[in-house]
Structures are given as structure tokens and as C-alpha cells.
């Protein structure tokens, strides 16, 4: 099987040495990875930029910043970490994790904000 770029390391002798995926399959993925990388850099710039805009209240500023951060995180998780196209079980396993995370953070916030008054 010929590869588009020949490596100078001696060809592997044992195990599963044939490329299990088509080279083309990885080529278009390569373009996707570069694209996502560029998108992340742009979003980083955007995050910095919008932090100097006032959206009405401090809470709103924070919300906008975190919204962008969540979008970036979703890109990393879906494309770089192959969640999109991975076995659904892994994604499904992360759902309870996120539920517990939000329970921890949400209930803590509620406990601070809403307490009995002496």
C-alpha cells in the first residue's frame, strides 16, 4: 500500500502495519483540523475584544464571555477529541458528569445567593 508521504523510518514489520484508513479520509480531516484551529484563534481574539464591550450588567458580560468559551470548548471536544463520530456511549457517559458538575456549581451558587437572613 503506498502512502502519499513516504517516511524514512523502516516500514513497520509486525502488527497491523497497513494504514487502516484511507489516506484521503485523513486528508480532508487535516483540512478540518486546520479550519478548527483557525476558528479557535479567531474566537480567542473575539473573546478578548468583546470583554471591552459593556453588555448592560456585569452578569451579562460574564455570560457573553462564557458563551464564547463554551462554543470554543465544544469545537475542541467535537472535532479534536473526535466526539462527533465517536461511539455514542462515551458522549452519553459525559452527560451525567455534566449534570453533576452543574448540580455542584448551581446548588453552591444557590446556597450563597439564597440564604436565611438573621
Amino acid at each position: 500500500m503506498s502512502h502519499p508521504q513516504e517516511s524514512h523510518v523502516p516500514a513497520p514489520s509486525g502488527g497491523s502495519h497497513e494504514a487502516p484508513h484511507d489516506a484521503e479520509h485523513f486528508h480532508c480531516h487535516t483540512r478540518l483540523y486546520v479550519g478548527v484551529g483557525v476558528a479557535l484563534l479567531i474566537c480567542t481574539g473575539l473573546t478578548v475584544g468583546i470583554s471591552y464591550i459593556h453588555f448592560g450588567s456585569e452578569a451579562m458580560n460574564i455570560f457573553m464571555g462564557l458563551l464564547l468559551a463554551t462554543f470554543k470548548a465544544a469545537l475542541v471536544a467535537a472535532i479534536f477529541m473526535h466526539l462527533k463520530g465517536e461511539r455514542k456511549d462515551i458522549f452519553r457517559f459525559m452527560i451525567p458528569t455534566m449534570i453533576f458538575l452543574f448540580a455542584l456549581i448551581g446548588l453552591c451558587i444557590l446556597a450563597i445567593k439564597d440564604h436565611i437572613h438573621f
Binding site: S7, V36, S51, I90, L101
Partner: protein, 301 residues
Amino acid sequence: MEIPYTVKARPDTGLWNAKIGVWLFLASEVMLFGGLFSGYIFMRLGAEPGTWPHGLLNVPVGTLNTAILILSSVTVVFAWAALKMRNFRRYQLCMGTTIFCALLFLGIKLGYEWPVKFHHFGADIKRESLVKYEEYLGNEHREKEGLTPRLTISGYLIDEHGHTLHQADYERLRAEGAKEIRVKLDAANADPNNPKNDSPRFLPVPMSDKIATIATEDIQYASMYLPRRSSYFATYYTITGLHGIHVIGGIIVFIYFMLPVSARLYRKDPEHLANRVEVAGLFWHFVDLVWIFAFPIFYLL
């Protein structure tokens, strides 16, 4: 005795062992950083309005570091793709670049950002003494503009000769019962009524030459910008510090993947090495993910 499904996927689950293992580990890491971030939320929500600092970190440098980490995320996924395409030279190039970016990230953080803050001094003024230092705080102007009061005087702590002092010197001064301290002021304290100094700016403003004398009895709490300085810096150093430890862990693993032992594994069973690099890459992307949240939370918001 061989453990099955180390390299080849088990048919009914469609996964090989380490892939499940690393996602489980990442789930626990989500909870770990989640606990720390809930600490941040507690500190911030519990702080008196207006006391949560802004503009004390170098945003351009932080942005650069973010870009470096994102780039390293791209190169590590390229390294994995190169292995899957059986291009070992390209793999080495990409993995090497990843390690370089990671080291650069650490170097900037530990070699520049943190040391700069360790020498930066801040003194919180007691509420009842704020009026005395109005020329450095500009609170009349801030009240007119509807802004929260400025409670801190910051800059370099200096001695009579103008030499910059460090935390140990400050503590010695306190132990000796010094009645006053001298601070070479940050721009915001040197010119507090200037509207340009009302909120943080992207490019850091150079330090002024103005020197203020503060009576120690007027100080609520003061120190260099170390973890002890405030709950903001406590969470900043702890979260970025733990993140940095994870970066170091990643670097160690990536270096291992560049050693001859890994090249030997590639020759014997390249898919096995590809799987290992994928698993390490997943960890690395998680490290990037944490930074994607940590950067705006501490530097911007």
C-alpha cells in the same frame, strides 16, 4: 498472558481499553477543575461589590499563551493523524512542535507572568482612611461616573533609594514596625481621575514615576501579588498552577513518545503507538479546554 482489546476494538463496544480509560479519567478531571471553579465562584460571589480586581493580569501575554496552546492542540492531532497514515517523520515533526509549544507556554507563565506578579505590590486601604489617599484613588470622580470605589494602591514597593523591594523585605519592614511605606505607583493610581484609567485596557500601561507614601496604620491588608494577596489571586494561582502541573505531565508523556522505545513500538505495532498518542492527545485537548475557560475567567471577565 495478554490483555485483550488493548489495540483492537472489542466488537460489541467498538472501543479499545485505553480509550474508555482516558475518557473516564477526563470525566474525573472535569469534576476536579469543576471543584476549583466552584471555589472561584464562591470567592467572587462572596466578595464585596467592587473589590474583585480587574486589569491586574497582562492580557496580550495571556492571549499569546492561549494561541500557543491552541496551536499545540492542532499539532498533536496532526501527530496522531500522521501515525494513522504511517508517516513517522511527519509524526516526529508534529509531536516535537507540540512539545515546543507546551514548553513555551510554561516558560511564559512560570518565567514571565508569575515572577512579574510576585514583584508587583498592592495595598488595600482601610475604609475610614480612603479620603486621605484621594489623590491616588480618585473616588470622587468614580462616584460621579457611577463606578465602584477604588480601594487599592498598587505599584512597586521601594526603599529610600528607589530600589524595588520583595515580599521578604515588606515583612521585615512590618516586623520592624515601620510607620510608612513608599510605593512607585501604577498609572491608574498616579492619574486616577483620568477617564482612560477607569477600566482596564488591552495594552498594559507603563508604570509612572510618581511615588506615594502610605502610612502602615492605614493599610487593611497588603502584600506582593502572591497567592495570599486576595481570593482572586488564590484562585488564579491554584487553578493556573494545577493546570500547569497537567501541562508538565503532558510534556513528560509526549517526550516519552519521542524516545527510541516508542519508535521501537511503532516498528512492532504502529497502531498501538497511534492509540497511545491518541489517548495522550485527548488528555492534551482537555488541558486546552480548561485553559479556554480559565483564560477569560481570570484575564478578561
